[in-house]
Amino acid sequence: MAEENGSNLQQFSDGVLANNPVLVQLLGMCPTLAVTNSLENALVMGMAATFVVVMSNVITSLLRNLIKPHVRILIFTLTIATFVTIADLALKAYMFEVSQKLGAFVPLIIVNCMIICRAEVVAIKNGVGRSLADALGIGLGFTIALSILGIVREILGSGSLLNFQILPDAFVDGHSWVIMVLPPGAFLTLGAVVGIVNQIRASRSKGGAA
């Protein structure tokens, strides 16, 4: 199997930075907007999605020589659905309260485009090492992106971080920017963060090109 150029480490770091699934590829917008109203929700969602993309990539990669092209999407979906269900059961068993808060968004990881995208683009064509590095990078990139939004939205919208109140009562009682924990706040924050990221990327490619 032809390996792509570059190392596994490069694949990993691409997933986090240059190819960040949320901020660069603009995939997985639905959970990004929905569960980032608190940092705790964002982190747990990131963790669950990372688990699923790792298992999906590793299994797809192990079976890559056996998967016939016309059933590959079926097999990807089957694998992803299985591990999302496992993740959902694990959350209900070990993190019950957070699982309640995430509600329907954990099962919705099944339709998170970035996961099936990695299977199709990387895992079906590469060895386990490369696929694992890719999955970890994408998972970490997803978690970081969600956490950035979670931090901004929770501090401004609830005055707290990880449920610890960090802004003074005067701000929290009735004056916190409630809009930040509502959908418009999600879009505003996401737009601002993607804008900043694009600005950084643009200045990097201008200044970095030696």
């Binding site: 097999i75 089957l78 509600g103 329907a104």
Partner: protein, 186 residues
């Protein structure tokens, strides 16, 4: 037939393997999940009925009803577990009634998947569920969007009128059905 097997054997094998994996996970974790649910229910009952030292579980009209007693065995209140449709999916809550069944002493939503940031304000710690404390159990509660005018008015959560209404409906329904039958279990 051979062509079918040839093309799809992996799908069939994976289907069976994953099904076994899921069954194993479910079997291993179900006990813990049930414990979590039971714990959430017990915590909710203790929060809703203060002074609770012991409880007796009954079944009244299809609902789990708990007769709540203090240390000396005296009746301090009733807790009823009820569920019904919510905006997204089912909502399960515990409603507390005073010992004579005349007043609602509180509610707590224990399971829901309402919209984060909006419908999830039916959770404890928000002003919405606190409105139920002290309401008379004799009149059905009505959801209003503006400031409540009548004693049996409940103000809806801004941006979550449906979730507010669904919770109120569940409470109204279970009280209407259960309350008349409490006397015989006293």
């Amino acid at each position: 037939m051979k062509k079918f097997i040839d093309e799809s054997w992996l799908v069939l094998v994976l289907g069976i393997v994953f099904a076994c994996l899921l069954a194993a996970t479910q079997t291993t974790l179900q006990a813990k999940i049930d414990d979590n649910r039971a714990r959430a229910l017990n915590n909710a009952i203790a929060e809703v009925v203060p002074g609770l030292a012991d409880k007796e579980e009954l079944e009244v009209d299809g609902n789990q009803v708990f007769k709540c007693l203090d240390e000396s065995g005296g009746l301090v209140g009733w807790a009823v577990k009820a569920s019904g449709s919510g905006f997204i999916d089912r909502i399960t809550l515990v409603a507390g009634l005073s010992a004579d069944g005349g007043a609602i002493i509180g509610i707590k939503v224990i399971e829901h998947v309402e919209t984060p940031g909006l419908g999830n304000k039916i959770d404890a710690g928000n002003p919405f569920p606190e409105q139920f404390t002290g309401k008379s159990a004799g009149l059905p509660l009505e959801v209003v969007k503006q400031t409540p005018q009548k004693p049996n008015d409940i103000q809806a959560i801004t941006g979550a009128t449906y979730s507010s209404a669904y919770v109120t409906d569940i409470v109204n329904d279970v009280i209407t059905r259960i309350r008349p039958q409490l006397a015989e279990h006293r």
